[in-house]
Amino acid sequence: MSTFDAPGVPVPAVVVDANAARRTEIISSLIAVGLALAVGAVLILAWGANPLIAYGALVDGAFGSWNSLAETLLRSIPLTFTGLAIAIAFRAGAFNLGAEGQLFLAATASAVVGLMLPDLPGVLLIPTMIITAMVVGALWSLLAGVLKLRFGANELITTIMLNYIAIFLVSYLLRGPIQEAAGFLPQTERLAANARFPALIEGTRLHAGVLIALLAVGLTHFALWHTTWGFRLRVVGLNARAALNAGFNVTAITLSAFLLSGALAGMAGYMEVVGVQRRMIENLSPGFGYTGIIVALLGRTNPFGVLAAAILFAGLQVGGSTMQAASGVPSTLTTIVQALVVLFVIGRGAFDQLFAQRKGS
């Protein structure tokens, strides 16, 4: 029998166990979170506050009571959707930095549809608004996809530019054609009650939308790992040439990723309109689309990882306000911690290299 390698070569003892690899990833993510919080503690000290008190307030504000837990979960809904949106694009080898704009346009469109059909029963109105949001988000994202595939315009830049364009467009609409009748604030009328989700925990703002977010996580996971479409999408993201050689329609797969990515970002906007604001407002999102990028990166573009990262960052954001109230430390500290988490995750290679050098010398 022939051998392909020199005889007597043992099978390389590489870690091939997928579970072990996942464990290492989770552990290194936790280390990154720990390091980021440590740097945050230094910044809190620099501010002149006690990190233990500040972080205590943060944890308390995020997870300390039913209400704070509900607020954290509520905040995790848009982050989960934008995180999934960006993760899907990443998986297909594209950078969708445009979730913010997709979210704004989709939210506006679904609010407008909701206001136009106030008498529709909830069972019809809710799906109509959801579909509107997903379609508008998907189309805005598709625009970047087409610009990339047709003109070679880097989607990194176009999606960012489309964010500004979308947000200004929405601002115009909210101060003009779709502004509330009272006409004081840049916002629409309030949506009718039948557009809303039922509350999940009485006395809190947490609504049934969180279940839809969980469903989206499950569906995305299923699509990525249990369908031929998801398989192809992952292959295209890893090696587009091999995908082409294997007979895939790379263009169609890439566009489908842009579409789904935009639709998911649109859902984030819809959830904020229906579940939190009850109307479209000008400052709907405090950067969910951008935080979604680090949610996707920390979650290793894995839907359940995204969910975990979204809850973590939602906790940071919600707890951040409590921290600010309790210790005076500005809640923007949490923005720093979030970005540091990602930088430390990417920097994991540095530690590996250091260890390798130690061993080598």
């Binding site: 029998m1 022939s2 051998t3 392909f4 390698d5 020199a6 070569v9 099978v11 390389p12 590489v14 091939v16 166990d17 997928a18 790992w225 249990h226 369908t227 031929t228 479409w229 398989f231 192809r232 992952r234 292959v235 890893l238 090696n239 040439r241 091999a242 995908a243 082409l244 050689n245 294997a246 007979g247 895939f248 329609n249």
Partner: protein
């Protein structure tokens, strides 16, 4: 004329140089030297270790053992700079030139001599002119390198080496990129250089060139030096034997091929690359059921492009591609790889890491092309158990050494990766197989395995287009040999007609 004299130290001398990549021995205790004014040819098949040995000389590789002496001094070459400082200049197969810079800028990159902050390009140009004058190596110092022809770029590489003080010039397969009419002029330059005292190492696998140019020839086979003798004392037949070894060139395919109907055909294919250089011109050929058509030629004469046109990765500018189907021949010119795969095409690409494999598990790579088919998937839903079963079978049938189907494919050795590619391509009973350099980088046993598999497919009735620059492989397997030169089919030889001489002549552009 050889101008070496015994009173001066030998410019370059290697002894016992051993280079290993993992368990693969690329150079096995090789001794090699070149004298002043000597042109020393280093001959060997692809993968024999010629380039590796010269990378050692150029300071790009540090050998595990062995010593290097330059001008009689022990040299410890840790970087290209060390080698350059000692007067070693290397002309790589893939040029080390910056296309967006001028010739003068290219030659003086990193050279203090040209000016610490502002290179004096006029002075550089004068020096280049002087070098050109002396050796008949004219280059325009102000031309952009990217605008030059490949032959001119090669001249720039040599001028660059000389400008940077090279006294030992190593040329890696320099004629691979030259047209025959350019070769003669190029050889004149090398002879002039040698007469002026430059020591030249000429790496090649072309016998006629070695015979006509060199003073001395050394032959490498499987990393070992098998002969080193004055060129005058040898002949092409002996060199061919030394290069290939005694044991090979026995045709493995039985001569009784009875080709069936057309399986794949190209008609008058033309292709130009993005720089508008013609890569394929008026190429027509057909492969029939039950035959192996070997595509022979010196690397870079359009074989790679032809393979990609056949596989559907490259759209030709003109001409037609036809494939057999149950309803008769279909025009697949505008069809991508997907449609061709469903018509029964399998592609074993040359660069498996780039074109065939994805950084996923063995199982996922195994089903890459057939994921749509039952039982691997059903209504778009993947069946993990079916995929696993499929992968298990592929692993068992092809003897892939791994821990299981979940192992990431990039952690496998090259040979085992190729087994997965092969198993995937051949496992679905293709009607057409396009195999490009299917045994590159594999050892003898693995090569035999690949050959057996291809012959078995031929017996099954598949049409096989085998693209290979390894002549013995083409000779061993092919029923017909199509020779390509400069993007054209220069001739076709049947099994009975093939002789090394005829093949060699055609490969260098002389029509049979």
């Amino acid at each position: 004329m050889q101008a070496s004299s015994n009173s001066e130290p030998t410019p370059l001398s290697l002894s016992g140089v051993t280079v290993r990549f993992g368990n693969f021995v690329a150079n096995d205790a090789v001794d090699f030297s070149v004298g002043r004014g000597e042109i020393h040819a280093l001959l060997g098949e692809n993968g024999a270790g010629k380039t590796t040995l010269m990378r050692v000389v150029a300071g790009l590789l540090v050998p595990q053992s062995g010593t290097i002496h330059i001008n009689g001094q022990r040299a410890d070459l840790r970087s290209p700079l060390d080698a350059a400082a000692l007067g070693v200049g290397m002309v790589h197969q893939h040029f080390m030139l910056i296309p967006t810079l001028t010739v003068a800028q290219n030659v003086c990159i990193g050279m203090r001599r040209a000016g610490r902050f502002f290179p004096d390009l006029k002075a550089v140009a004068r020096e280049l002119d002087a070098i050109g004058e002396r050796y008949g190596l004219r280059v325009d110092p102000n031309a952009l390198v990217g605008d030059l022809t490949v032959a001119s770029q090669q001249r720039v590489e040599i001028v660059k080496a000389l400008y940077r003080g090279a006294r030992i010039l190593v040329l890696d397969e320099p004629t691979a990129v030259l047209a025959p009419q350019e070769v003669a002029g190029f050889f004149r330059v090398l002879r002039t250089l040698a007469e002026a005292g430059t020591a030249i190492v000429f790496i090649s696998h072309k016998l006629d060139e070695v015979m006509s140019l060199s003073h001395r020839v050394s032959v490498l086979r499987h990393g070992q030096l098998v002969a080193s003798k004055p060129t005058a004392q040898t002949n092409p037949a002996e060199l061919a034997r030394l290069m290939i070894g005694q044991d090979l060139t026995l045709p493995q395919a039985d001569g009784s091929a009875r080709p069936g109907g057309m399986a794949i055909e190209v008609r008058a294919i033309g292709y130009r690359d993005e720089r508008d250089v013609a890569r394929l011109s008026d190429v027509s050929l057909a492969a029939h059921r039950g035959e192996i058509v070997g595509i022979a030629g010196v690397d870079g004469n359009g074989q790679q492009e032809l393979a990609e046109v056949l596989a559907g990765l490259l759209a030709p500018r003109s001409g037609q591609v036809l494939m057999a189907s149950p309803g008769g021949p279909v025009d697949v010119t505008g069809m991508g790889p997907g449609g061709r795969i469903s018509l029964g095409l399998s592609h074993i690409p040359e660069d498996r890491q780039r074109t065939a494999l994805v950084d996923l598990s063995i199982a996922e790579n195994a089903v890459l092309e057939t994921i749509d088919r039952r039982p691997l998937s059903h209504h778009g839903m993947i069946s993990k158990s079916a995929i696993r079963q499929f992968a298990d079978q592929l692993i068992a049938r092809n003897d892939v050494r791994c821990t299981g189907p979940e192992q990431r494919i990039m952690t496998l050795s090259g040979g085992n990766q190729q087994k997965v590619v092969l198993g995937r391509a051949l496992g679905r009973d293709p009607s057409v197989i396009v195999a490009v350099q299917p045994t590159r980088g594999l050892d003898i046993g693995a090569t035999a395995f690949v050959h057996q598999q291809l012959l078995a497919q031929r017996a099954r009735g598949a049409a096989i287009v085998l693209v290979s620059t390894e002549l013995d492989e083409v000779l061993a397997l092919s029923d017909r040999i199509v020779v390509m030169f400069a993007g054209r089919v220069i001739g076709t030889l049947s099994r009975a007609e093939v002789t090394l001489e005829r093949l060699g002549a055609m490969m260098t552009g002389q029509a049979a």
